[in-house]
């Protein structure tokens, strides 16, 4: 009886291979058409490989826990003549291919010359090329000469290097080259406007922030937000001297939440997840011409009172421009209190070497539903947002962290 191959199917766009989770049939077992017989796992989900037709399992070549590319023959089904004939056309291409008969480089000019001499086929050596195994690592093949909107010619790049421009600076240019790429002419025309507008040198801080934000933005960032009742914090604050601002409460809450859930702030570099040993959190301070973010080390071990003292020191240092780069490096998270500007909510951008930033908005008197009283009661509410690098943290993890931060903020005795 003829055999029909069981082939690893195309399981989704850009899926190149799958791992066998389980094989749910035995040799000799009778199967129906479209029956799920093998379970495979891709990087997206667990899916099933179904039989191409009815018959008997004749051979299983796949092994559990092994990974096979799309198109691999996983086994064979002994099927009827009729079924086999139907599937013969769908069998994978023969694994060996003969060398091209056309001599490369013959049709040099694009307009085509159509003239190439006859080859004595017996004289041509054939080279065997295996087509099994497709493209390891997945992805669509990109032609070598492909240029698109992102292509920067050597000349454009040289000019950019000369002027210390980055890709972000080119965002304002609508390219006129092939695929809408930016040509040298487009760049020079664009730069000409620098001559007409009033130009001045950017300060070191401005340039530094620009560079940091550009680098940070190269990651996929997401933001989640919620509201927090600030009244408990405001009440607690009255009893303290010196008085910590809401941002310090938020910093402390974040620190404690991260102690409970350190994985949330883990950094992803390539395929490795890096965990910090200490909970160091930055606090954004507005300096003369930009934002600086000094890091408060061991924020989980620093009491709110000590945080307040530390903060006062940093503010005066910041005004005196004495905050060094060392004081701003490291750290696993940061807090930004844009509420001081009256801003209700925002999507701050994490520092480039950190995975998250907590943003605190301005507190406003808001009606809050009180279930016990079955009525709206006034409360001082603020919007609190958490922006994070979605490569290392998902909405669920970020959500749980934010929820815990809010819990702690609404119970300042725990801070």
């Amino acid at each position: 009886m003829p055999q029909v191959p069981i082939i690893m199917p195309q399981l989704g766009e850009s899926i190149a291979e799958a791992t066998i989770v389980s094989i749910n049939v035995k040799l000799g077992e009778k199967v129906a058409a479209d029956q799920e017989i093998i379970e495979v796992e891709t990087n997206k989900a667990v899916m099933g490989v179904t039989t191409p037709c009815a018959g008997e399992i004749a051979k299983i070549d796949a092994q559990v826990k092994e990974t096979y590319p799309i198109g691999t023959v996983l086994g064979y089904i002994e099927a009827s003549e009729k079924d086999a004939a139907r599937f013969a056309k769908q069998a994978p291409p023969p694994p060996q291919r003969e060398m091209a008969e056309e001599i490369p480089g013959r049709s040099e000019e694009k307009s085509g010359n159509g003239a190439h001499f006859q080859i004595d086929k017996s004289a041509v050596r054939t080279f065997r090329v295996s087509t099994q195994g497709a493209v390891p690592g997945g992805g669509l093949p990109v032609p070598a000469a492909a240029k698109g909107a992102g292509f920067l010619s050597p000349r454009v790049r040289a000019r950019m290097a000369e002027l210390q421009l980055t890709n972000a600076d080119l965002a304002g240019i609508a390219g006129t080259g092939s695929g809408n790429r930016v040509t040298i002419k487009d760049l020079e025309n664009y730069l000409r406007q620098m001559e007409s507008a009033t130009a001045s040198d950017a300060s070191a801080i401005r340039a530094g922030v620009a560079d940091a934000m550009r680098r940070s933005w190269s990651r996929p960032l997401a933001t989640i937000g919620s509201s927090v009742n600030l009244d408990p914090v405001l009440t607690d604050r009255k009893q303290r001297d010196p008085k910590p601002g809401p941002a310090l409460y938020a910093l402390r809450a974040l620190a404690l939440a991260l102690v409970e859930n350190p994985a949330a702030s883990a950094k992803l570099i390539g395929a490795r997840v890096l965990q910090s040993n200490t909970i160091d959190i930055g606090l954004a301070i507005e300096a003369q011409d930009g934002i600086i973010v000094p890091i408060i080390r061991n924020a989980d071990k620093t009491s709110l009172a000590d945080l307040t003292t530390k903060y006062e020191e940093l503010v005066s240092l910041g005004r005196a421009r004495r905050i060094s780069p060392e004081m701003q490096s490291g750290g696993i998270a940061a807090v930004s209190n844009f509420g001081t500007f009256g801003v209700e909510w925002g999507t701050p951008i994490p520092l480039p070497d950190q995975t998250m930033i907590l943003g605190l908005g301005v507190g406003k008197k808001t009606p809050r539903w009180d279930e016990s009283k079955s009525e709206f009661v006034p409360a001082t509410e603020a919007q609190i947002t958490l922006s994070f690098d979605h490569r290392s943290l998902d909405g669920g993890g970020a959500g749980r962290l934010l929820k815990r931060v809010i819990e702690l903020l609404e119970n300042p005795a725990k801070l």
Partner: protein, 322 residues
């Protein structure tokens, strides 16, 4: 007064024969009243008796004899009837003439004139452009004059140079190209000329293809692009500095030549610009050559085999839009 490219060559030879006793012309059918297959030596045998000599039909012997004469202090001009036949003298030109100075410290001041390039119906053995082949070998200077003025001054320079010079004169330009008068001196040998100023794209070319390139540039000027055209004049030595300066202005390079596409002058131009001027390029360099087949006889096939201003313009347009 109107003088053709061919007449300029004849005038240059007349001047050389007149001014320098060491000069003599050596080729097939150049002497007597015949004056050469293309009449490049018409009347010269009569004016300079014993100085314009007929040879047997043996390019090997022609160049070999000329090398011997040059070693004895003379300045022979060898006229090949067609560039294509010079392949028979390859060993003499490349190995004997080209290496002699390097091996013995004695230079070989011969000039070999090659009527190059195709005309309608001349076919595969009467149409070749061999400058790429000769430029490849060390020890030779390869000239490719594109204008009447250059044809005149560069031939005079060629004979004055102590090294072997392969002088590629283009048959198509012989009667088609005319000038008003002959100059007294020209640009130095080895320097390229900006034949047309531009700013959007550089075409580097030589010999007959210069005129096709200029024609293409005029065509494209109507579309709002200004093409700069460089006339190499000599392909060996190649004036890299001028080419780089031009690409520095325009950012785009199109090399045009009439020889076959594999390797050659256009490939050399692109290789040099890619290596030394990579950061000047706003788009990948391109080239236009003849097709990679023997040169056809049939006029229709021949006219599509060599680059024409249409083909050059099409390639330029594509490059401008990249």
């Amino acid at each position: 007064m109107s003088i053709t490219y061919l007449e300029a060559i004849r005038e240059a030879q007349a001047k050389l024969l007149r001014d320098d006793k060491r000069v003599f012309i050596y080729g097939q059918d150049v002497g007597g009243t015949f004056g050469g297959a293309f009449k490049a030596t018409k009347g010269l045998a009569k004016e300079f008796p014993g100085r314009v000599l007929n040879t047997p039909i043996s390019e090997d012997a022609m160049v070999g004899t000329a090398i011997g004469a040059a070693l004895e202090g003379m300045r022979p001009i060898v006229e090949m009837q067609f560039a294509d036949f010079s392949s028979i003298a390859l060993n003499q030109i490349l190995n004997n003439a080209g290496t002699h100075y390097w091996r013995t410290n004695i230079p070989v001041p011969i000039t070999v004139r090659l009527p190059s390039g195709g005309t309608k119906g001349s076919g595969p053995f009467h149409s070749q452009s061999m400058e790429s082949l000769y430029a490849h070998y060390p020890g030779l200077i390869v000239m490719t004059p594109a204008t009447v003025e250059d044809a005149y001054t560069m031939l005079i320079d060629a004979v004055a140079i102590d090294d072997p010079v392969v002088y590629c004169e283009h048959k198509y330009l012989y009667y088609h190209l005319k000038a008003d008068n002959l100059p007294n001196d020209g640009m130095p040998v080895g320097k390229a000329r900006i034949a047309r100023s531009g700013r959007d794209l550089t075409i580097v070319s030589y010999s007959a293809m210069l005129h096709e390139s200029l024609s293409a540039a005029e065509e494209i000027a109507k579309e709002g692009f200004e093409i700069e055209v460089v006339d190499l004049r000599t392909v060996k030595p190649l004036d890299t500095a001028t080419v780089l300066a031009s690409v520095a202005r325009t950012g785009r390079l199109l090399a045009v030549g009439e020889s076959f596409p594999w390797g050659g002058v256009t490939a050399e131009v692109i290789a040099r610009v890619s290596t030394d001027g990579f950061h000047l390029l706003d788009a990948a360099p391109a080239r236009v050559n003849a097709k990679d087949t023997p040169i056809p006889y049939h006029p229709n096939l021949w006219s599509t085999h060599r680059p024409s201003s249409k083909v050059i313009a099409a390639k330029a347009r594509q490059l401008l839009r990249e």
